[in-house]
C-alpha cells in the first residue's frame, strides 16, 4: 500500500489571507492539486508572488490552508503533523541562523528536535559533503552568506528526511556551492529521496527536474514532464546580437538581454519575416542562430498565456 502512496499530495489546496495594507482578500493559492511520486525530483516554478512559497509553507506546517489538504507519505500535515514533519526536510528561502551556536551545535540541536540521537557520523558526512568540515566549530555569525546557506541545507537533511524541500536554495550563491549542492542532492535523490525544488534558475530546473509544475497567480498553469513541455513548446528561438534598438514590431515579442535578442520563430517563414523587418529598419543582426526552445522560453510562454503551451498545460493539469 505504502509503495503506491505519493510522497507529496496536494489536494485542492487554497489559501486566502487579508492584506495588511489594504485589507483586501488575497487569493494566494486557488485549488492547487497535484501529486509528487516517491523518488521524484520535482520542480515547482513560477514568478514572484505565484504562490510557490505559500504552497511550501503549507506543506511544512508554517501556514494553514484555507481549504484542501496536503499529505506527506500519506500523513496529513495538520492532523498527523508530527509524522508528516519527520518525513520532511525543508531548506527555507530566507538566510536565517541562530547566532548563539556553532555549526556542529546547530546540527546536533536540529537532529535532537527530530528525536535522532547519536547522529555524529551523519553530521560529519553532511559537513564533509557540503564543504563545511573546517567550519564545524565556527559560530554561525562568522560564516559567509554561502556558508550559512550550506548550513541551512545540512539542517534540513540532518534527520535523513524522505522528502527534501528546497525553496530557492541557490538564490544568490556562488557556482561552487551550486555544484556541491546539486551533486549532493542528486546523490540523495538516486538513493531514494524525493526532492521538491523551487527556483528562479530555470536552467537548473531543466537539468535536474524530470517533472515540473508551474504556478501563476496561485493556480497550476502547467504540469508535465519537462521533456514534453519542451517538445510541445510552440516555437524555436531565433537568437542574435544587435547594437541598436529593435523595431517596435519585433520589440513587443522579443526577450532582450543587453545586446542579445531572442525571438520566438515557429518556422522558416517567420524567421524570414523577422530578418526582413530588421533589414527594412537598416539593422544588421550578428551571430544569428536558431535553437530549440529551453525551459525559460516555455516558462515565459506559459506565463504570458500563449495558446500553444497553455493548451498543453490545461490538458496535462
Amino acid at each position: 500500500m505504502a509503495g503506491f502512496m505519493p510522497a507529496i499530495s496536494f489536494q485542492s489546496v487554497s489559501k486566502q489571507y487579508r492584506s495588511r495594507g489594504s485589507g483586501a482578500v488575497v487569493q494566494a493559492l486557488d485549488q492547487v492539486s497535484f501529486d509528487i511520486e516517491e523518488g521524484e525530483f520535482f520542480g515547482l516554478l513560477g514568478p514572484n508572488g505565484a504562490g510557490k512559497t505559500s504552497l511550501i509553507s503549507i506543506l511544512a506546517g508554517l501556514s494553514r490552508p484555507s481549504g484542501g489538504a496536503v499529505k506527506v507519505h500519506g500523513y496529513d500535515v495538520i492532523a498527523d503533523f508530527a509524522q508528516a514533519r519527520r518525513c520532511l526536510g525543508v531548506v527555507p528561502q530566507e538566510l536565517v541562523f541562530d547566532p548563539f551556536f556553532s555549526v556542529r551545535e546547530t546540527l546536533r540541536i536540529q537532529s535532537g528536535y527530530f528525536g535522532v540521537r547519536r547522529n555524529e557520523a551523519w553530521i560529519d558526512e553532511l559537513l564533509e559533503c557540503l564543504g563545511l568540515a573546517d567550519k564545524a566549530g565556527a559560530n554561525m555569525r562568522q560564516l559567509s552568506g554561502g556558508m550559512k546557506r550550506r548550513v541551512l541545507v545540512a539542517q534540513a537533511l540532518v534527520h535523513k528526511p524522505k522528502v527534501i524541500v528546497l525553496d530557492e536554495p541557490t538564490a544568490g550563491v556562488d557556482v561552487e556551492l551550486r555544484q556541491t549542492l546539486w551533486q549532493f542532492i542528486a546523490r540523495l535523490n538516486r538513493q531514494g529521496s524525493t526532492v521538491l525544488l523551487t527556483t528562479h534558475y530555470l536552467e537548473e530546473a531543466e537539468a535536474l527536474c524530470p517533472r515540473i509544475a508551474m504556478l501563476k497567480s496561485g493556480k497550476v498553469v502547467a504540469l508535465s514532464n519537462t521533456c514534453d513541455l519542451l517538445q510541445n513548446a510552440s516555437s524555436n528561438v531565433m537568437r542574435f546580437k544587435l547594437d541598436h534598438e529593435l523595431p517596435p514590431l519585433l520589440a513587443v515579442k522579443a526577450r532582450v538581454t543587453g545586446r542579445v535578442v531572442q525571438l520566438p520563430a515557429h518556422d522558416a517563414q517567420e524567421i524570414e519575416t523577422h530578418l526582413a523587418i530588421l533589414r527594412q529598419a537598416g539593422l544588421q543582426p550578428q551571430d544569428v542562430e536558431i535553437r530549440k526552445a529551453d525551459l525559460e522560453d516555455v516558462f515565459l510562454e506559459v506565463m504570458n498565456c500563449q495558446p500553444g503551451v497553455a493548451a498543453t498545460a490545461e490538458e496535462l493539469a
Binding site: R64, V90, E94, V96, F97, D98, F101
Partner: protein, 251 residues
C-alpha cells in the same frame, strides 16, 4: 521524548552562553539594590518585630530576580527568534505545543532560579536570615518562576517587534514587580495602595517567599499559594492555547 529535551537544552545553552549578561548582571544589580537600600534604611526601618531591614529586603530581591529573569528568558528567546527568523527551525520540527510549552517553561524557570540562587549566594553574607520554612521558599520560587515563564511565552508570542516587548516589560512586569512589596511591607502603604496591592499577583509571590525565610508575612502563605498557583495555571493554560493555535507564529 528527546525532542523537547533538546529544545530545553538549547534554551538553557542559549542563556548560559551569555551568562555574563543573563546571570551575572542581574545578580550585580540585586547586590547594588541591597548595598544602597540596605545601607540607607537598615537602622531606620523595621518592618517586622525583630527583623532587620536587610533581612527583610534580601528575600524580596531574590524573588524579584527570579521573576524578572524567568520572564526575560522565554520572552526574549521567542521575540529574538521571531525577529531573526530562526524560529522556523523549531516550527519545522515534529515538536508538539506541549513540547514547546515544557521546554520554554522549564528553561526559563531554570534561568530565574539560577539567578535567584546567585543573588541569594552573594547577599546572604549580609544577613542573618532564620530560614523559617524552606518548603515555602521552594514552593514560591518554583511557582513564581513558572508564572513568569508562562507570561514570558505569552508576551513573546504576542509581540511582533522589540518595541512591543519593551512596552510589556516596562509597563506591566516592572511596575508589578516594584509595587509588590520587595522594598516595603504593604502595611506601610496608605489604605488605597494596600487594597491595590492585593490585586497584584506579584505581591503574593514575594510575600509567600519571604514567609519562608522570616516566618512573617502580610497575608497567610496558604492564601498566597492558592492565588499564585491559580495564576500560574491560568497563564500556563493561556500560553499553551496560544502555542496550540500557532498565535502569530503560524499564519
Amino acid at each position: 521524548m528527546i525532542g523537547w529535551l533538546t529544545l530545553f537544552y538549547k534554551e538553557v545553552l542559549r542563556f548560559w552562553k551569555v551568562a555574563f549578561q543573563t546571570v551575572a548582571a542581574p545578580v550585580l544589580t540585586a547586590l547594588m539594590y541591597l548595598l544602597i537600600f540596605g545601607h540607607v534604611l537598615q537602622d531606620r526601618v523595621q518592618v517586622y518585630p525583630g527583623v532587620g531591614y536587610t533581612d527583610f529586603l534580601i528575600p524580596g530581591l531574590v524573588m524579584m530576580s527570579v521573576l524578572q529573569n524567568a520572564f526575560a528568558n522565554s520572552s526574549s528567546s521567542l521575540i529574538q527568534s521571531k525577529m531573526m527568523g530562526n524560529l522556523v527551525f523549531v516550527l519545522l520540527t515534529p515538536l508538539s505545543p506541549w513540547n514547546w510549552f515544557c521546554a520554554y517553561m522549564l528553561s526559563s524557570m531554570v534561568r530565574g532560579l539560577v539567578v535567584g540562587l546567585g543573588v541569594l549566594l552573594v547577599t546572604v553574607w549580609f544577613s542573618s536570615l532564620p530560614w523559617a520554612a524552606p518548603l515555602w521558599i521552594a514552593a514560591f520560587a518554583v511557582l513564581g518562576a513558572g508564572l513568569l515563564s508562562a507570561m514570558g511565552i505569552i508576551a513573546g508570542l504576542w509581540s511582533e517587534k522589540f518595541d512591543q516587548m519593551a512596552a510589556f516589560q516596562n509597563f506591566v512586569i516592572m511596575p508589578m514587580t516594584f509595587l509588590s512589596g520587595v522594598f516595603y511591607s504593604i502595611h506601610s502603604l496608605p489604605d488605597f495602595w494596600q487594597t491595590a496591592s492585593h490585586f497584584n499577583p506579584f505581591f503574593y509571590m514575594i510575600d509567600g517567599f519571604r514567609h519562608g525565610f522570616l516566618g512573617h508575612s502580610d497575608v497567610s502563605p496558604w492564601i498566597s499559594l492558592a492565588l499564585v498557583g491559580s495564576a500560574c495555571l491560568v497563564m500556563s493554560a493561556v500560553a499553551l492555547h496560544l502555542l496550540r493555535i500557532g498565535f502569530k507564529i503560524r499564519s
